[in-house]
Symmetry: C2
Subunit: 149 residues, 2 copies
Amino acid sequence: MSPAENAPSTTDVAHALEAVVTWLRDSREPVGISKSSLSTLARLDVVGPLRITDLAEREGLTQPGMTTLVNRLVQTGLAERRADPGDGRAVLVALTSDGLARLTEYRVSRTELISARLEQLDPESRSALAKAVPALHRFVDDSHVTEEK
Amino acid sequence: MSPAENAPSTTDVAHALEAVVTWLRDSREPVGISKSSLSTLARLDVVGPLRITDLAEREGLTQPGMTTLVNRLVQTGLAERRADPGDGRAVLVALTSDGLARLTEYRVSRTELISARLEQLDPESRSALAKAVPALHRFVDDSHVTEEK
DNA sequence: GCCATATGCATAAGCCAGTTATATAGTTGA
DNA sequence: TCAACTATATAACTGGCTTATGCATATGGC
């Protein structure tokens, strides 16, 4: 409960991370595009063209929900539907260059927001955060986590 | 771009924090209550009873939106409306004991989720994160930030 | 003290992003 | 070749917001 007095416990770290998440969530400026859409664009950028069903599963939406979302992306020119060679039922959703541009713009603005904030911190804090970078990546990386159940 | 080779830059830290935010957002389990409702309950817990208008401003909603949200909270027994002594127009929204219990339950489950993940990390990573706790708190703390504009 | 104006909240109507249920087109294997 | 399965689409509905508006109370200049 008191990271100032003793060494921070796991719970203290958890609370600090939650606080950061809350701050970053609240610091989102309206960007004219939904969080789901941005997340889907990012997924397409990272993974490449995907089927509707596949996208839906990865993004945690239902298939009809993803169909609607993709409709919006296509209508605004951020993504396109391609035929899946070898399966006439399926569709491959792919990022357009406009979609990539939009995604990049968003990523840059977010990074700038956070960086500006970081640069206002005292040097010791910045150093501590810099040293925590590998740990933060390990935290979100599933590959080393021992799955249970 | 390569935190593994050189000392992590501010941009690297920003990306790591974004990655954590994304992971924590995706790790939210359905909880039967909206994010806005939880955030509002937390606000009431931290700040104490507030007016509808005040709540709306702090939570980034419109006043009618907050009226509706408070209606839901009241109907589910998580909050209550009190008369504002000294202003017959106003209402003070306050957390009920049920509301506090629900909020606590959520907070505990979140903390447990994150803690469990932390405990699977290697000791050096855990140590690095523990040392970063004060810096994380400073990052989200507005009080020392030099405002511009 | 009165009245014009401002303020706090509620209601109404509509929008948007999601849901479940169902239909249609294409695929696959016995 | 046809029954069963799969991928997507469409329809109808819901939740959580929005804007526009109304009503009650408060406030200050006169």
